[in-house]
Each structure stands twice: as C-alpha cells, then as structure tokens.
Symmetry: C2
Subunit: 474 residues, 2 copies
Amino acid sequence: MTLYLQLAETLGSRIEQGLYRPGDRLPSVRAMSIEHGVSLSTVQQAYRLLEDRGLAEPRPKSGYFVPAARQMPPLPAIARLAQRPVEISQWEQVLALVSTVPRPDVVQLGRGMPDISSPSLKPLTRSLARLNRHADARALAYDGIHGSPLLREEVARLLVDSGCRATASDVVITTGCHEALSVSIRAVCEPGDIVAVESPSFHGAMQSLKGLGMKALEIPTDPVNGISLEALELALEQWPIKAIQVTPNCNNPLGYIMPESRKRALLALAQRYDVAIIEDDVYGDLAYTYPRPRTIKSYDDDGRVLLCGSFSKVLAPGLRIGWMVPGRYADRVLHMKYISTGASALQPQLAIAEFIGNGHYEPHLRRMRAQYQRGRDLMIDWVARYFPEGTRASRPQGGFLLWVELDEAFDTLRLDKALRNRGVQVAVGCIFSASGKYRNCLRMNYAALPTPAIEQAVRRVGESACELLEPCEA
Amino acid sequence: MTLYLQLAETLGSRIEQGLYRPGDRLPSVRAMSIEHGVSLSTVQQAYRLLEDRGLAEPRPKSGYFVPAARQMPPLPAIARLAQRPVEISQWEQVLALVSTVPRPDVVQLGRGMPDISSPSLKPLTRSLARLNRHADARALAYDGIHGSPLLREEVARLLVDSGCRATASDVVITTGCHEALSVSIRAVCEPGDIVAVESPSFHGAMQSLKGLGMKALEIPTDPVNGISLEALELALEQWPIKAIQVTPNCNNPLGYIMPESRKRALLALAQRYDVAIIEDDVYGDLAYTYPRPRTIKSYDDDGRVLLCGSFSKVLAPGLRIGWMVPGRYADRVLHMKYISTGASALQPQLAIAEFIGNGHYEPHLRRMRAQYQRGRDLMIDWVARYFPEGTRASRPQGGFLLWVELDEAFDTLRLDKALRNRGVQVAVGCIFSASGKYRNCLRMNYAALPTPAIEQAVRRVGESACELLEPCEA
C-alpha cells in the first residue's frame, strides 16, 4: 500500500471514529508531513482522497475541515428478544429472494450481490478464459477433496491480514461460503441441538440450521458492538448450546465491526462453556478501515473456531468458491464437505489463485472498499431524504448492505408486495430472524455504482413506505 | 443418428445378446440391405464399425462372422448379506481415494473419472473461454436457486431419451450429482431412518447416508439383473424403510442395466410400501446400446422417484454440474439445495446448455460410448490374462468401471498397500459396502484410451494379487 493511501486510511478512520468533529479544522499539511515523516505532496494526495470520500473539505487559505454533519438517521434499536430456542421459519420469504435472477426492469436491492462490473476483476475472467482456451484438461478433472493446493496457499497468505496464522494444510476449499457454513454446522451439531445466533442474522446460515434440524437461540445484537455478551452468557448458563454462530466483521445485516476486546471476550466465553464458534468472515476483507479487522479465529488457541469465508463478496459470487479453516473439527468437516458436493470446481480455484498470486487482489479490494464506502454514504443520505421520518439506519463499517428500521408497527411484507409492480426489490426484515421478527425492517444493497435509476428506486421504496404509513381511514 | 450407425447398433446389440454365437456367419451385406431397405454401402459402413468394435470379423470371400469367443472371466458372485440396517463405515478408505489428484507418476484406475481429453469436448471449453473473454458479468452473478432456465430446458429435452416426460420447471440444477443425491436423502429421510441400498453400491451415496445419520440396509444385487426384488420385498416387510437408493442404469460398481420389467416391479414395490426411490442415473447416457435404457422415473406416476444425474461422467466432473427431477419432494429439495451451496455456478451451466443446444452432445456421447465399450473389452481381457486364476469380473453394459472379484480370502487393502510403490491406484472393494464387505473385490476404471502404460498398470495389479495369494510359508 502506498504511503498516501495509508495516511488517508489513518486520518479517515480517525475522522470516522469522531476524533475530529464536524466543522473541526484538520491538521495542516505541514504538521501532518512532520508527524508522519512524509513529503508535503504525499499529505496533499491523502487529503485529496479524503475529499473524494467526503471526509475532508478544503477551505481556501484555511486548510482542510471536517464537513458539516450530514443529517444522519438514528441507529436501529436493539431487539428485546424472548430467550428461548426456536425452530426457524421464513423459508418462503427466503425462497422468493433467492429465486430472483438479474432482470433489466427491476432494481434489485435485496440480494447480497457485490458489484462485479469493476475493471479490476478483468484479470480473473482473463485467467478463466485462458484456462479454457488452452483446454487444460486437468482443470476439468476431479479435484482433491481438500481443494487446490495453489489456492489453499493463497488463502493462508491472505489470512495473515486478519491476524490468523494458518498454513495451506489448515484450509479447506468449499463451494461458496454457504457450503462452509452448512458443513460447519453439521460438523459440530446434531439435529435438535441449539445454536446461539446474532439477531438479526444472515438468513442463509439460519436456513441451514433449519434444514439441518437445529434450533436457533437469538441473542440481542447491538448495531455498533455486535452480539450482547451479557445476554449470550446468560443463555450459555441456561441452555445446552452447542455452537455460537457470528459474523463479527462487517456484519450482515447490521454492518458493524465487533471491537477486538469483545471478540476476545466472546472467545473466552466459548472456552468457558466449551462450545464451538462458527465465524463467518465473508465480508471481512471489505472493511473500510485499514488494516482490516482481526477475526475471532486469530485469537483461537484451542481450535474451537471454524472460520468460514469466500470470494463471493470480494470477487464474484458466480465463482462459487469459499474456504474454511476448521480447526479441531477438520476430520468431520472433510466428511461433511465430501457428502455435500464432493470436490469443488477446479477452474475457478486456479483462476482465483492466479488473480491473488499476480497481485490483483489488493488493488481490487481497495477500489471496491472505496466504492462501497461512498455507496454507503449516499444510501444513508437517500434514506434520510426519502424515507418516513423516524426511520433508523445502520452505519456499516464495511461491505455493501444497509439495515433500515421503520416504525415499529410497519410491515415490510406489505411494502414488498407494493414494490413488486414498481421495479424495486428489497430484502424483507423477517428473514433475518429465526422467529419472524424485524417485520418493520429491510436490507438494501449499495454495491452498484450509483445511478439516477438506483436513487429513483430507493426513493420509490421510501415513498411506498410513506404511503403505507398513512392511516387507512384517510 | 445416421443410418449406418443405427444399423450397427441394432446388429451389434443382437450379437451382444447372443442371437449370433461366436463363429456364426452374420447376414450378408446384400441380405441386410434388403431387410433394412438401405444401400449396400450403408451396410458395409455398419460392418466396418462392428469390425472396429470387435463384434464382427471379415473373412475373405465369405462375408462377416462373429469372432471366436474370448476367454471371459466368470461373473462376480452375489453376496449373501445379513439383512439388518447398519451404520456405515469405511470413511477412511474413501477419504484416501478422494484425496487423490492426477499425478504423472501414478496410473489412477480408482476414481470414477471419465476421459476428458476427447476432442469432442472442445466446443465446451470454447464456450467457457468465450463466456470469460467477453467478461460477461451476468455469468459471475448469483444464479437463481433453481438453476439456469436454459440448461433446465436442455436437461428436460435430454430426459426424453430415457422415456421421462419432464418440463424445465421440473428440473433443479445442482452442484454435481453428489449434491443431488445428498439433497435427495435429506429431503426424504430423517436421521436414524433406514435406506435400502444395492450391495455393492456407490461409496459416495453411502457416505452421504453415513454423514446424514441414516442407516443402510444392504440388499443382495445380481451382476446382471440388479437389486434382488425378492430380498428387497422381504426387507420392506420387515423394516421401516424410508427410501430405496439405486443406480439401475450402468450401475456403479457392477455395470449392469436392470431389465425394464424389473424397473417397473421395483417401482410397484415402492408404491406398495409407500417409500421413495432415489435413482442415480449419472452413467445412464453412457449405455453401450441404442436407444439408451429407460429410467425408473420414466414409469413414475405419483412423483415418488427422485431422479439424479449430472454431466460429470458424460462431459467432465470439474464442471460440478448435476441435475435432479425431484417429483413430489420438490419443495423440500429446494430448501436442502439452498442450504447446501445456495445457487450453483452459472458459467458452466451456460456452457453446457450451449454445448447441447448446438448439437455437440450426441456425437460426443457416441464417441465416448464406443471408446468405453472397447475399453471394457480390453480390460476384461487383461483381467483374464494377468489376474489370478478364478478371478471374476463384471460385464458392464455402459460407463467405464469394471468390478473384479478375487478369491474369497483375498484382502484388497493389502493389495492397495502393495501397489502404493508401484505407481497404480485402484478402488478397494470395502468402500462399496456399508459394513466393509467385498474386501476381496476392487474396481478399475477403463475410461482412458488404452496405452501400453495402462496395460502395464493392470498387469502390475494382477501380478501383485498373484504374489499376495502365494502362501506366506512358501
């Protein structure tokens, strides 16, 4: 990473964390140059980048300032949940969501789809084309069940960035993170077992619990700090929980990054009560701050964390390549992986390994992180502008998903219905709860480069919500 | 299909079925021309093809004759099995097999790997290359959970050949047949349930039963007629069986095609006892006879058959694209598919759909069927020549896998060990039984075009077996 980028990241995260408040004067170019031991032009480049990102505002002859506060919707509330394990419902709504395919006449804000039109992905498709042009028969053979050694090595190298010391032999390649999660659950639990989950929580992982016959115990989750450790401890005391399933980095759907101290505390709890942790890090590389956040796995000293990730969110979901570091559960994980899909496809593995090995991964990440961060700010702005008064919204620290909370009595299933003929699709909140909570919430995707059509679509969601809020008698 | 091919198939299957015996004179070219209303040159072309396949022998001035009988090893015995459901073992041996990747220094006869070096596959890799050269972003997006409509339509069209009337909407695309089988089991059974299986039976499907907590009830299986309906009926009477899992066409590992009347009888049994049938048709398109055999699904009138297949054996396993027709279990199948891997990769689906749509599928199949049939004859010949006296072998009617049975006391695990330093790998028999039977059997792959190195490898297997048979005291 070049110096000016590093500097911009440092200063940017200080601004984001509120060390400088709206209207504050930022350190002068000269002062920064001295403090960080870099040239004046490096500081100026960093400031220009921050300006692009809307984090700094130049004023003639006076230097850089933090822009005046935007009108920000308040944060979502923390759900008060009945603490008992439940069977998971909402498959119908999930099915409706995952049956969708891209359509030119619908702006799809519902799915967890990254922007795959970025030119920084070109080397990847070039690799895939080359693999096929040379009709390399090897790449169409069965791969070994563990996955390609080339990709496993690259994944192990990437893991260093999240503080994780793993070797290639610790890594298992999977068919997307979906398989990694599902295999993890099956490796750790038996049907009927209880798994503690964040609430709200990724619908895919919850449907896996449902499909495999587990029960979910929803733990209240803070939109800034993540899963409530206090509530979790109570639950561990009270129920025979087998595993804790969390997405601590760039959480889906809430967008927070769990503070490091809380990650360590969560691990300590798991150790005390001897339960496994299934850690979903599928969005971790898309954190807006540098360096990227650590995983719980990076603190794991007795192999109880099953770390799951994939290239679906950082590269492209159609590759269907995920990975996991299963720790002490490796044997059972391998068996479950075998019966799930056998070996994973080799061609995309080789293409991804080449993409990373040739140094294309980091620049691509940097580009996407910046794009998504701008997307977040715009999307929050639109929610503030177009949604009913009192609407709350998350402050994602990475990824490309915004969680929106409407009036408590609001029903997003009705909204979803109303939107069907208006060319917009969102993810309804109830699928993020085991028991159909969050009917007043929805999740929207801001991955795509902003266009008037997307703003128009978000506006339509907001306006439809306003219409539905009007009393029926009016 | 051209006339001469059709004629060759007809006459070839008459010879194979024994209507003409070794040494018999075959009908004259002129007689055939009159009987079938085709030109003399068409008949001559057909005969030349039969000659290539070793089914006809020209004798100067006398016409064509059935070649003298080759020395054929006797058929494998039918196992006498204890009829009680068992937990499945042998994961270690399966893991050893599926951990292998192609190595230049080892002749791998163990895996169910087709020949992917055929030039008739070129249009497929060209499609994949083109999809990536144009960097068609759509193909890297999430696909809908059901799979690509294009491929579903092509699969529905192919199904006509096996007598199955299905529309695109009845088809679900999966990540290989492995996923189709695993999803089927989970859609139909609960942990602890009993599933009746052929014995011997495909290790992948059995490991799925194991991983999902089911028990297997092994049913004696005839190397010509398939699963014993009599034993199956007894078992259905005695045990609360939930599903019957069979591979009636080009069975793995025995290679038989179950006669149609027995397929219908099997379905009738399933209806009478109200159990589901999980039908694996992954090798069905590779039957050596034309037209290809029907599936049990083709007789299914109440949706109880879950038909599973893939392009792994007919095109290439690295594509990881399978399909299923789940009948009345569609809803649950879709949920299980979702939690298994989400949607399957779109690029290979589009490439396969194009391959079929452009008419490349049939010619490729014809080529591979002919190659595999020749491979079978050679492999049986080698077994007769190089293996210990008394060795038995199957007579595969399709596919590319030969089942070999050695002396009852023989231990192929010891053979496998001995072969490790001799550059050959086979599949040991015990993985084809839920309870570790068939230790005296092994499975060999004859998909690759024969080379002296392959003959040498088979010879080494045979010779190693002979050495191990010698009394230790000697």
